[in-house]
Chain length 444, copies 2
């Protein structure tokens, strides 16, 4: 049943609009341009949209329809949903807002009506009050933002579920910006049917998904949630909104969810090896390193740096969060010294000094990668020195152990744009170290 | 005596090189192009550099010389410094590395020799082992990085001292990137003479400096340091490197400094109202809001947002770090409602919903700014909605109370480039909230 949300052969966009700025227009345009399947616009006004024949109702489409995307006024949703039922459509995404989240009686009534109809016809529903769904594999971009406003990520292994639409949009954009590839994304809004547990369960079985990420405000079915967390073997990163009394109040006027006590959630997350992101930045940072797909065998970190100051900051932070930073053995030190000038430091951080070139990074990292003394690397690259350019990133392909890179500054943005692969590159030493720590906390 | 480091009438670059990639060449080029004063290249090879007459020694310059920048091999430094003494130059920046920081006997000896000569001639020295100094006011860019590699910030009110050269370079670049203006920057390296206390003292009296920022690894003269912190009325933000045993080890092989116990520093910082940045990101984030120059009268935060999810995250974080998030009074709620659709929330966060346009932001913020119920604002702007564009930033000029803006995503980078003024704009809700908190902790 869930499969057709992501792999429909044909999609109807109910409320496909003739006006360029309207949600129903943008969704139809995105699908028409990208989706590898058939797309049918539905609107009582049947003048063509973007050159395509428009159907007054889904009932007028001769073809079978696997998925309907509804983007009409909340009060009309029950009517068009009933048409979907009659047409035999079993998967519906309701984009429209104006339901229980408004706090109005009208909205609540409309939502109840939608639930009834869905039950009657056996329709599975995502939403209402969502920004849509996204599948990078088949171009199913049923979101109401155009590429010019929101960048969409390339294909990848992260699947994302979010109650909040904003977080959905910003996740797509930030993942694209940071070069993190995505498999699927679902904004599930008021979650009158499909909820966080259904989605985690689906992603845990989905072949394309290697990392599950989510922003959740509340959990509908506690028992199922625990079961799903327990059974998922893939890494899960969750950002919990509404952790505090302030946040809970905000969440309740946002998606009318009961946020619950944060300590309860934190304990559950720990128990089931769920990685908890404390902040928005953490979430993106963790996905970057997790999507790179490596696991650490232990906590022994080696820092290699051409920038002393960042080496110091990284060391302080590694200590603070409980990573180990052992000095190399005498034997390893001797090996390292062969590739370094006399004034370099072979303690840890291995300070290869500001005049380091690509070759020096390469040979030092090779020695460390082949030794059994370290489990993971932080590679600090002050790329602004005259000795370096973006070629230094090529040597990273040879490293077998997990690593993160810290590069900072204006120049880095341009370099990032040139790199196609999603390397775990961070702006700040502390964020890189924190991301590395996550690799030591994965389920085995 | 310190004044001439920043406001010389004439500068000699000793070791100005004919080779484009050499430090001495880059410093000379930067000064020649930007410095509003006279610049003299010094090199035993007297072929012209960049079309300028080259002097074999400072003693051959007929003009008076206020400041010498030395960028020659460490072993030659004593000799050229002696020439400076004979020439009557009282201010010298020694860029060269290869002194005590190498741990070598040779280096230590050379450093001792330099100290002796400086004492004999009464020369004040910044360095050695630095990336130079920078004064935005008169174009004194005596750093060895070109604009193509490292962006230099525009004129502003932040002055920066750093022991680490890397941090110096990255500070310039990051401040430029984030639109934070700078007054002066000094990388003071091994600090054989001018140290952190001298610089904080100088900046505290410098008219152009409104905010003092620093990265310090160790403190040379504890008594003076305390005195200086006590007497400074301007906001000071310090990032302390070598807080932990790991970090201290890193610092000691980096600038041969004794880092000391972090708790001692933290207590001192608290006692003297110094703002301690915990991470590199914090440092930049704090400078951004401090350079904007507002102070909060209390801790009552209002969050205005068109993005529910970010409102929730900001609320959670505000609670966590001890800001207050009171609901508006009934009277204020009524006033706010006049400018909002029925489904908007007037609790706090004030969720003006995803269809908010510029006018809605403007009127809601005006009501809040005029009320006496809040001390500071977080303004979350999901700028990716079709209702908004960068014009929304113009309304910020009318706000009288302190505020921070949270805008996230790819589009924001382009918008930031278009804005000339240094608005306190942050990528993530938590970082914006943390920066706001700083405004409540300033010396009165």
């Amino acid at each position: 049943m869930m499969e057709k949300f992501f792999y429909p052969k044909s999609v109807a966009v109910i409320g496909a609009s003739h006006e360029e700025k309207k949600i129903g227009h943008v969704i139809f345009k995105n699908l028409l341009e990208k989706f590898k399947g058939r797309v049918y616009p539905v609107n009582p006004k049947t003048e063509p949209i973007l050159g395509q024949r428009v159907y007054p109702s889904v009932l007028d489409i001769e073809d079978e329809v696997d998925l309907a995307i509804i983007a009409v006024n909340a009060l009309i949703v029950p009517k068009v949903l009933e048409d979907c039922g009659k047409k035999g459509i079993k998967n519906v995404v309701i984009i429209s807002s104006g339901f229980s989240e408004t706090g109005s009686l009208e909205g609540k009534k409309a939502e109840e009506k939608v639930k009834e109809i869905a039950k009657m016809y056996g329709i599975r529903i995502i939403g209402p009050n969502t920004i849509g769904i996204f599948n990078s594999e088949n171009g199913l971009d049923a979101t109401f933002f155009l590429e010019k406003d929101v960048k969409k990520p390339s294909k990848g292994n992260v699947s994302f579920l979010t109650q909040s639409g904003t977080i959905g949009i910003l996740s797509l954009d930030m993942l694209a910006k940071e070069g993190i590839g995505i498999a699927k994304l679902v904004s599930y809004g008021n979650a009158i049917d499909v909820n966080e547990s259904d989605l985690i369960e689906y992603f845990s079985k989905d072949e394309k998904t290697k990392v599950i990420a989510g922003f959740i405000e509340s959990v509908r079915d506690g028992k199922k949630f625990l079961e799903v967390l327990k059974n998922t073997k893939k890494p899960i990163v969750l950002l919990k909104g509404g952790k505090t009394s302030f946040g809970a109040r905000a969440a309740s006027s946002h998606t009318s969810s009961l946020a619950g006590d944060h300590r309860v959630y934190s304990n559950i997350f720990k128990q089931f090896n769920v990685i908890e992101a404390e902040t928005w930045d953490d979430l993106i940072d963790y996905l970057k390193i997790l999507s790179f797909g490596r696991k650490a065998q232990g906590k022994r970190l080696a820092i290699v740096t051409n920038a002393g100051g960042f080496g110091v900051l990284a060391s302080d932070f590694a200590f603070k969060i409980g990573l180990e930073l052992p000095e190399p053995s005498e034997k390893l030190k001797e090996e390292l010294k062969k590739h370094l000038p006399f004034y370099a430091s072979v303690k840890n951080p291995i300070d290869i000094t500001a005049d380091a070139d690509v070759e020096r990074y390469k040979s030092v990292l090779k020695v460390l990668d082949n030794s059994k003394e370290y489990d993971l690397f932080l590679i600090v690259i002050l790329i602004q020195t005259p000795m370096l350019n973006e070629d230094v990133l090529k040597i990273l392909n040879d490293i077998k152990k997990p690593f993160a890179v810290c590069m900072s500054g204006t120049k880095v943005d341009d370099i990032k744009k040139k790199i196609e692969s999603s390397l775990p590159v961070y702006d700040s030493p502390e964020r890189a170290v924190r991301a590395l720590k996550i690799l030591t906390e994965l389920k085995s």
